[in-house]
């Protein structure tokens, strides 16, 4: 019986005008485009400079800042008020003010100050912009010092020279960090939404009622909905792997089979969750909204955008109930660090628990009569 029910599900899936295309095109587009758009590295910060010094040193500093690649020199203002106005008009994000006695102070007292003011309406951009600018000015002071020391034939290095080594993601590429997480988003969308909408669709068409008067038991019925979407999840994931390789040359340091193993449990958990929703929703509209609400919560608490460790305590606690969190950890670890199963037993147990919980709930809440 189950065999023919599965055959039926696949036939219906393949005959749908929309779903097979969706499963193939969605991961393609999402992985090809989203990582480029969702990017926290900040470029093109608009800079306004107030140069009161007009000296060789001040213009050297300005040139250095402008050539760093992070900033676009939008204007040179005559005074701070004028620069502030340009910030208010949103023409510039950061103001660099060089005081009149900049060069004199630098030469005479070996100490000079500049002022950095940043527009922090977009906190991320303002914060990073002023940090980048401070870094460049630091470099500049280093250069100046070396200029003075070199002719004297002495080499003096600062007391500490910090050379960070970035493990696992040496270029600090945000894309590499985001792709595994976006893959999981795809998987969650496909494996959560499709089964839920499928069952609610059967309710709307009345075929659910027709099935309910037959002796088919609920385990078989739920399995016939679960297994096809499980397989579809694997296909979508494989497409994700391919796209990651095609566009970003990104292959996991670890093994694909580790990912498949975890994905099999994750998909089961998420499809189960979709089934639970479908048991409580009577129309496709209701199901869509319920799914959307819960998936959004899962995503924001998963550490996809912001690290879980920087969330408030209550949110960190709640994030334990997001299956996405564990799966994103797994994928990032396998892709970037090359972790194996033994390092991720904790995540495996968590995902299995979700799978058992949601599917148990789905079987329990599926009622053949009202």
């Amino acid at each position: 019986m189950l065999k023919y029910l599965l055959e039926k599900e696949f036939k219906q899936f393949m005959r749908s005008k929309f779903l097979p295309k969706f499963v193939i095109i969605f991961p393609f587009i999402a992985l090809a485009i989203f990582p480029l758009a969702v990017n926290f590295s900040i470029n093109n910060i608009n800079l306004s400079v107030v140069d009161n010094s007009h000296s060789p040193y001040s213009s050297r500093l300005i040139r250095k800042v402008a050539s760093s690649g992070y900033f676009r020199l939008m204007e040179t203002a005559d005074n701070y008020q004028e620069a502030l106005k340009s910030v208010e008009l949103d023409h510039s994000d950061v103001v660099l003010e060089i005081p009149p006695r900049f060069e004199e102070d630098l030469v005479n007292t070996r100490k000079a100050g500049v002022m950095i003011s940043a527009n922090t309406v977009n906190g991320m951009k303002g914060g990073l912009g002023s940090a980048y600018l401070a870094g460049i000015i630091n470099d500049f002071s280093q250069e100046v010092r070396e200029d003075w020391i070199a002719p004297a034939g002495r080499t003096v290095t600062p007391a500490f020279n910090i050379v960070p080594e970035y493990k696992y993601n040496p270029h600090l590429s945000y894309t590499v960090f985001m792709i595994p997480a976006i893959m999981i988003m795809m998987l969650a969308m496909i494996c959560g939404f499709i089964p839920a909408l499928n069952i609610v669709g059967e309710k709307e068409n009345g075929t659910m009622e027709q099935m309910n008067v037959t002796p088919v038991n609920k385990f078989n019925f739920i399995l016939s909905k679960l297994i096809p979407h499980w397989i579809i999840g694997f296909i979508a994931l494989t497409i994700c792997f391919f796209v990651a390789w095609l566009f970003y040359r990104l292959v996991p340091v670890g093994h694909y089979y580790t990912i498949y193993l975890f994905a099999s449990v994750f998909v089961l958990a998420f499809s189960g969750f979709g089934l639970v929703i479908s048991n409580y929703a009577n129309t496709i509209q209701q199901a869509m909204f319920m799914m959307f609400f819960v998936v959004m919560s899962f995503v924001f608490l998963s550490g996809l955008y912001t690290p879980v460790a920087s969330m408030p305590d209550w949110a960190q606690f709640v994030s334990n109930f997001s299956p996405l969190k564990y799966m994103i950890q797994v994928l990032r670890q396998v892709y970037l660090k090359g972790s194996g199963f033994s390092e991720m037993v904790h995540q495996f147990i968590a995902l299995s628990a979700f799978a058992v919980f949601f599917n148990g709930w789905a079987v329990y809440s599926y009622r053949k009569r009202s």
Binding site: M1, K8, N205, T207, N212, K368, R369
Partner: protein
């Protein structure tokens, strides 16, 4: 033998009383018609008997099994055809039939005899998707799907609504053949003319049964004088007849108006004079025998008066 027994079934949806204290029995190999307008509670009754809905109170058995305790046995023994077409529109005729054969643990071949007569009519389209069939074809396919496991009781909820007259006749011919195979058939319909094809009928209105009897007995027991009246201006005629003091009820029945009389002393001639006086032309008046519809109108009128 009583195949379906219903005792004092009631069901409310919030404040709406969909069924009020319904009781009846249906015998083996009988076509039991439930006749009533939309919203009378026909579908609710069917959903309770097919174990899809729980009654608030009362007892019911189908083929000897209790609808609450033994619902699993019942699901093996009944065929249900809901009023709304609810097969898989994206599967073909043949695939739909196979799905339902499979979930009942049987095959199309095993019970092909039972559905042969009706399936042959749709067999030329067996590779067409169910969604692309005409209304009559859809109903024939739905009937095949409901019969494929050789049920002992068949529940048909408004099988002829939205179906053309020829397919309607085909469907009823099929039901009469199935009856001979000892299959008990419960059929609901809003069409009074189909009532005479049933062995027994129950008239239902606002969740209550008005009367249960054979169609013949029901029309025989109609104890009022019934005339059909016609003229060239039918809508004016309806109003004029209703104004007449000796006319008890008057309803539009297609091309004629049916009236019942308060007073048996009135003659057709007197009525004709009355109408001519009001300017009617082409008047035709003839005493007629009651149809099921007349009985329904009469009984439902009594109901509302009480």
């Amino acid at each position: 033998m009583k195949v379906v027994t219903v005792q004092n079934i009631s069901r409310n949806f919030g404040k709406v009383e969909a069924l009020k204290d319904i009781s009846f029995d249906a015998n083996e190999g009988e076509i039991f018609g439930i006749i009533g307008p939309d919203g009378a509670g026909k579908t609710t009754l069917f959903r309770i008997l097919t174990t899809l809905l729980l009654a608030d109170s009362g007892k019911a058995t189908v083929d000897g099994f209790d609808v609450i305790k033994d619902y699993k046995q019942i699901r093996n023994r009944i065929g249900y055809m809901p009023g709304r077409f609810s097969l898989y529109q994206d599967l073909t005729v043949e695939e739909n039939l196979k799905v339902f054969a499979t979930v009942f643990n049987t095959t199309i071949e095993k019970n092909y005899d039972l559905i042969k007569d009706i399936y042959q009519q749709i067999e030329p389209f067996k590779t067409r998707r169910a969604g692309a069939l005409s209304g009559g074809m859809k109903q024939k396919l739905a009937l095949c799907c409901a019969l494929i496991h050789k049920p002992s009781v068949l529940f048909l909820d408004e099988p002829t609504t939205g179906v053309d007259p020829i397919s309607r006749k085909d469907l009823w011919d099929m039901l009469i053949r199935l009856k001979k195979q000892k299959i008990t058939i419960l059929v609901s319909t809003p069409y009074m003319d189909e009532a005479s094809l049933c062995d027994r009928i129950a008239l239902i209105q606002d969740g209550r049964f008005l009367k249960i009897d054979t169609p013949a007995a029901m029309t025989r027991e109609f104890d009022k004088i019934l005339w059909s009246v016609q003229s060239d201006t039918m809508s004016k005629l309806l109003a004029d007849l209703r104004r007449h003091k000796k006319v008890k009820t008057c309803f539009a029945f297609g091309e004629t108006h049916h009236i019942t009389l308060e007073d048996s002393t009135l003659t057709p001639g007197e009525m004709k004079n009355y109408l001519t006086g009001l300017g009617h032309t082409g008047i035709e008046i003839s005493p007629i025998a009651a149809s099921v519809e007349d009985c329904f109108m009469d009984l439902s009128g009594n109901q509302t008066e009480k």
